[in-house]
Amino acid sequence: MLTRRIIPCMDVRDGRVVKNYQYFTALPDAGDPVELARRYNEQGADELAYLDITASVEGRKLLLDLVERTADELFIPLTVAGGIRSVEDMQAVLHAGADKIAINSSAALDPDLIARGAERFGSQCVVVAIDARREDGDWWVYVRGGRTPTGRRAVEWAMEAERRGAGELLVTSIDRDGTGEGYDLELLHSICSSVGIPVIASGGAATPAHFLEAVTRGMADAVLAASMFHYGRYTVREAKEWMRAHDVPVRL
């Protein structure tokens, strides 16, 4: 049976992780994303994600080096998000060893980029990331780190992204992100029941119970979390054991 995936996400700037990872202070180099990636792999992570928040050309080179070092060593899928604006950017990241690229602002501003990427590399490589905020009884797509409204409805944009060739969606609730209150289950449910491609839930997870509701009530295919793992509240394995105990199929 197809298992539900758990995906730890690391924020990276200039090739280094940016948050304070208390739990990993015992690692020889806790700022090195590869060290963290290795640890998550040992815990049973199903995939890994790097969100690059680098602004400089030099930082981008460091990211590509990081992707290559990760893919050299870890044989699980790796997604890279952040700063991908063109087919050439996609090619550079995929060539370095990433399996999927996630596009967010660039897709909303240039929706044809989804199709160009899918045509060149296959839909399975192209993840469209949607940052949604709840306003006036609907969800609206924001870009540029959640600062700029696009005027698009999230569910409609999800359907359009699928139609244009996205292979997967990464859906983040801006309202819930960083709150630890759990995913926006209604948002997930609305999108998951409107598209026929896999959906990754993001934004708000603090406990394995949040994972469980995301895949049951939210109907998500995968869950992404950052601080919940980084701060050591739960290991990936603990989260999976908890899900299995609640009859969710996971890879253990």
Binding site: M1, L2, T3, R4, R5, N41, D46, E68, A71, D72, F75, I76, P77, Q91, L94, H95, A96, G97, A98, D99, R120, F121, G122, S123, Q124, G167, E168, G196, I197, P198, D221, A222, R251
Partner: protein, 204 residues
């Protein structure tokens, strides 16, 4: 000496992990689109990227299709991964196109599933003995991502299956021509064991 294993490079795809997995499994990978170089190898991996039709066009144009048929006929091991496995068969709905015809059967779009592609970790049901799956326990999880699937004519060519709202072929082939619908280079330690088995088939 490490067995020399050709990796067919047909353009857009990420072959980084395939190359690294072969190295980790004890082989010497040669990533190339040149049939003359492929002809010097002891085994070949046909990886999975892009669409079936453009892949077949590229393979035909570069003279790789004929090389692969000769390679298979000589009894040297050939491993197809994902799209690579699908190209071993004949009639292919994606395009549509016609594959290499190394194995009897066809390729069809995944239908009547709640989500397509079939993406993620799924477990293996073992159907018949194969050196490729030596020491891989039944129930092992491997990573799939595909929208088309293979339908071998003969049950005997099904080595392993998986269940995604119905049965799907996960490993198929006969003799030295074998392929996986999933990505062993993305399937952690289980996947590396499969590459080690393939390198072993090539080397011995």
């Amino acid at each position: 000496m490490r067995p020399r294993i050709g990796v067919v490079d047909y353009g857009a795809g990420n072959l980084h992990s395939v190359r690294r997995a072969i190295e980790a499994a004890g082989g010497e990978p040669l990533v190339t689109a040149d049939p003359r170089v492929l002809a010097t190898t002891d085994g070949i991996v046909l990886p999975g990227v892009g669409s079936a039709r453009s892949a077949m066009d590229t393979l035909d144009r570069a003279g790789i299709s004929d090389l692969l048929r000769e390679h298979a006929a000589s009894g040297r091991p050939l491993l197809g991964v994902c799209l690579g496995l699908q190209l071993f068969f004949g009639e292919n709905e994606e395009g549509p196109t016609t594959g290499l015809g190394l194995l009897p059967g066809r390729v069809a779009r995944l239908r009547n599933r709640s989500k397509v592609p079939h993406m993620g970790w799924n477990s293996l049901d073992l159907c018949s003995q194969s050196p490729l799956l030596r020491d891989v326990p039944a129930g092992s999880y491997v990573y799939f991502v595909h929208s088309y699937h293979v339908l071998p004519e003969s049950e005997r060519d099904v080595v392993a299956a998986t269940d995604y709202e119905g049965p799907l072929v996960a490993v198929a082939g006969r003799g030295s021509v074998l392929g996986t619908q999933f990505h062993p280079e993305k399937s952690g330690l289980v996947g590396l064991a499969i590459y080690r088995n393939f390198v072993g088939m090539v080397g011995g």
